[in-house]
């Protein structure tokens, strides 16, 4: 516990211990339960009999190689598509004065708030034969949608904002200053960008691309809805089949999940290896001019690019959701006499517990954002700014949930917390949902704040210490404000993702408790698509507006710079 032991500038010990305790509770316990389940098939009955018996049969499944290959293929396609869309937009946003920039930021933020399964359903209802597109303009694009291409596009439009915001933020932090130095020494603008600005932005870019990859291989809704028809099975759909197909095969699901986790770990190590080869410190305490350049001749094409991407990523799914929510009947289609606000009235009149579901999800979202933010910033600080032994273990723990499918986290939590000998347990209370969300979403604040810490020079903290600040003061007054923009956006993202999480919620929700996602899912199951979509629309609206208002307040109070 002594500050000397970790050998760093400041007293990192309290931060490290807090991070470790949080990580053990939130990540290690459910993950350990999953690992034990894969080894001991009868763990659910509290028995450690016949170890390793299901390993052979699961790994011998001939479909496994195909599923694993498809998973990697889909992940790579989504990463490539996201980067293609997001990197140019993010760089322009960071370096140039874009007209209507705040509007584009909001429009590109919305895809975060649209649950992937809802967006997919929106795309299906738009592009399938006799869908909204055909009703409007007379043709459909169904063959494109139900394919690897369609799946990649739908998923990329859902995840590319992660890359867009990471790139625009890190490139902005690097600023034009370093590139200007390059220009002074005779580099062309393109050369200065490729050789200086882009490489210096690598931490943010690599971290966000890794999040996209992990999200893509872990995503269930889109491959289940689009992939099955294209005969495209991935590991997650395989896991879900094992868990929902009687007789239930929990050990098999656990083994496939560990395979998925190892895929994520490999990308994580790859990212570490790339980043470890040089320093990315660009925030050195010298004031930087945030002057952005005018777009000049590129103005029209850049604006068109922003408009097209915003329309595809936000406009199409939102309009499809709204059209469905406002239809009296689905078979009535887009017609004036088919417009009805009945579905919205039903939500507000608390039909089927709609209001309770909204309150539950938003409280859980706020709780998850606070807890993951706290653990995340402590873990990132320990990993980046201290030389503590075992910090790679902390880093690894923060990466595991990235690839754990929601349903596996849920099963792990039940296995861990429903042991009969536990004197008290969060199981069957709202706390178990909080634990599940924290586990699933912890990687977001960790990755964002890690990238931010990597750009802060060590001399800043050292300077504060030289002038007599305690380690806590240095952290609170120097480091925390510098990473706060990244931390705040990560926490807002966590809030949005937690308030719509579906797969774990369905399995682990305490009896009698509904969340937004389980409410929508139940309406779909019972054929009330319109009511589900009305709820989805309201939830998207609130999850978008709430963080925006919060950010505005923070800006006004000077905590976050524009």
């Amino acid at each position: 516990m002594s500050t000397k032991a970790n050998g760093s500038v400041g007293g990192a010990a309290p931060a490290a211990w807090l991070a470790i305790a949080g990580l053990i509770l939130v990540v290690a316990i459910p993950f350990l339960a999953v690992v034990l389940q894969s080894i001991f098939p009868n763990l659910g009955q509290g028995s450690f009999s016949s170890p390793f018996s299901s390993l052979v049969s699961t790994l011998n499944d001939s479909a496994l190689i195909g599923m694993a290959g498809n998973t990697v293929l889909l992940g790579c396609c989504v990463v490539a598509a996201s980067a293609l869309v997001a990197v140019p937009l993010g760089v322009f946003r960071a370096l140039y004065r874009i007209p209507l920039a705040p509007l584009w930021d909001v429009l590109l933020l919305v895809p975060f708030m649209i649950p992937p399964y809802i967006a997919t359903l929106g795309w299906i209802m738009t592009l399938q034969p006799r869908g909204y597109l055909q009703q409007l303009v007379g043709f459909n694009l169904a063959p494109f949608l139900f394919s690897l291409f369609g799946m990649t596009l739908v998923m990329a439009f859902n995840t590319f904002p992660v890359v867009y915001f990471a790139v625009s933020r890190t490139v902005e932090a690097v600023g034009a200053r370093y590139a200007d130095v390059g220009r002074v020494f005779g580099a062309s603008p393109a050369r200065a960008f490729w050789r200086i600005t882009l490489p210096l932005s690598a931490p943010g870019l690599a971290a966000s691309l890794m999040l996209v990859f992990a999200a893509a291989i872990e995503e269930y809704g889109t491959p289940a809805a689009l992939g099955r028809r294209a005969g495209f099975q991935v590991l997650v759909t395989g896991i879900d089949l094992r868990i929902t197909d009687w007789p239930i095969d929990l050990p098999g699901a656990a083994i496939l999940s560990i395979l998925l986790v190892s895929m994520s770990l490999v990308t994580f190590l790859l990212q570490r290896w790339i980043l470890a080869r040089r320093s990315y410190q660009t925030v050195g305490g010298k004031p930087t001019a945030k002057d952005k350049r005018p777009l000049g001749k590129m103005k029209v094409p850049v604006l068109i690019a922003f408009a097209v991407v915003s329309f595809l990523a936000t406009g199409v799914p939102l309009l499809a959701i709204l059209a469905t929510a406002m239809s009296r009947t689905i078979s009535g289609g887009l017609a004036f006499d088919n417009i009805s606000f009945n579905n919205f009235m039903l939500v507000f009149s608390n039909s089927a517990g709609a209001v309770g579901a909204l309150v539950n999800s938003f409280s859980l979202g706020i709780g998850t954002a606070l807890i993951t933010g706290l653990i995340g910033v402590m873990a990132a600080y320990t990993v980046v700014k201290t030389k503590m032994r075992g910090r790679i273990a902390i880093d690894t723990l923060t990466i595991i949930p990235n690839a754990l499918p929601g349903i596996v986290v849920a099963v792990g939590l039940i296995l861990a917390w429903n042991m009969p000998w536990l004197p008290a347990t969060p199981y069957n209370t709202a706390l178990i949902l909080l634990l599940a969300y924290c586990c699933i979403l912890l990687p977001q604040p960790v990755r964002y704040t890690t990238a931010a810490f990597q750009q802060i020079g060590d001399n800043l903290e050292a300077a504060a210490r030289v002038f007599g600040a305690s380690s806590l003061t240095a952290f609170r007054r120097i480091l925390l404000p510098l990473v706060f923009p990244s931390l705040a956006s990560a926490m807002l993202l966590v809030f949005a993702l937690a308030s719509r999480e579906l797969v774990a919620s369905v399995v682990v929700a305490p009896v009698g408790m509904q969340t937004i996602a389980t409410f929508i899912w139940r309406q779909f199951e019972q054929g009330s698509i319109g009511l589900g979509m009305a709820m989805a629309f309201i939830a998207i609206l609130i999850t978008t507006l709430l963080p925006l208002i919060l950010l505005m307040l923070l800006r006004r109070s000077g905590l976050v710079a524009e």
Partner: protein, 319 residues
């Protein structure tokens, strides 16, 4: 800053704990419609004063939860959407033997000494009346060229009743019907709701083997959709209710089963467009006596489950 964060965190924890502390007397896990279980539990609480906690999901997710909870189970009453669950759980010795006095009017084939049907759904052809296709009357009609590329089949791996229909029909002609459907462009389209949605919008004309009560409820809401029960026969899916032997509230659980089978409870079942289990309760829909049922041996069919699903996967081409 850190201090306030901590106190907020603590507050959230405390609030969440309080929310979870409300203890209920009977815990029901159900694969049935949410609105049905909501009405049943409200009515039951009103009549007996006993509170009900509900967990509702698909049969698969309910089973996953029971399996994961096996070391320390909390469920008292289980309502599954597949009769197979009752058979399997009875074999494992997990069920309490109970014959409700209200079950007298439930036909013998819908009850055992440890399970009784809550209601029954049947499978039929769900057909979009505005699809511009002729009204189908038989399963085999959907192999005609008018329905080329317009038929959805619910995934038999994801739904117990779909599986029984698939197995029963495939047993009659050794998968010829399913080969013909495939040749006519039919596809397997996810679970029941996923298969029905495209038919509502008109992307497809018909669902081969749709769950009737969801479709009938959509029709009641004004959707241009109808259910046809082929004269050659179909399958029904009784939804068994059972009491688990680890339940610490078995007397209350029995009262819940009694209420579910009472006049009031069965009327709620009928209002959901399900067939009531009791034959003396009227319903605004075709009843078992109006349907012709396919003849097959459940034990044999489930014994060959893996092979049947593998054959279907082969025909419909999973990669």
């Amino acid at each position: 800053m850190l201090k306030s964060l901590k106190s907020i965190t603590f507050g959230v924890f405390a609030a969440a704990l309080m929310a979870g502390a409300a203890h209920a007397d009977v815990t029901v896990y159900t694969a049935g419609p949410q609105s049905l279980i909501d009405k049943l539990s409200a009515g039951f609480t009103k009549q007996t004063g006993i509170k009900v906690s509900v967990f509702q999901a698909t049969t698969g997710k309910v089973m996953a939860r029971i399996e994961a909870e096996a070391a320390n189970p909390v469920v008292d009453v289980l309502v599954s959407a597949s009769w197979d669950t009752a058979t399997d759980f009875a074999k494992r010795g997990w069920l309490v033997k109970y014959s409700s006095p209200n079950a007298a009017k439930v036909p013998d084939f819908l009850k055992t000494d440890s399970a009784v049907a809550q209601g029954i759904s049947a499978l039929g052809i769900a057909w979009n009346t505005k699809s511009g296709t002729p009204k189908p009357t038989e399963w085999a009609d959907l192999t005609k060229k008018e329905y080329k590329d317009l038929v959805n089949i619910p995934d038999p791996a994801q739904s117990g009743s779909s599986f029984e229909l698939t197995a029963a029909l495939a047993g009659q002609d050794n998968f010829k019907l399913f080969n013909d459907l495939k040749a006519n462009g039919a596809i397997i389209a996810g679970a029941n709701a996923d298969a029905l949605n495209p038919v509502l919008q008109g992307a497809k004309a018909a669902v081969f083997g749709a769950v009737d009560y969801i479709t009938l409820a959509s029709k009641a809401k004004g959707e241009s959709i109808d259910v046809i029960f082929p004269a050659s026969g179909t399958v029904i899916a009784p939804r068994p209710a059972m009491i688990l032997n680890w339940s610490k509230n078995q007397d209350d659980a029995k009262k819940f089963i009694d209420y579910m089978l009472s006049d009031e409870g069965q009327k709620m079942v009928a209002d959901e467009m399900l067939m009531p289990a009791r034959t003396d309760i009227p319903a605004n829909r075709p009843l078992i006596s109006d349907l012709k049922l396919l003849k097959y041996d459940t034990a044999t069919v489930y014994g060959k489950r893996k092979e049947t699903l593998a054959e279907i996967t082969k025909i419909y081409g999973g990669k």
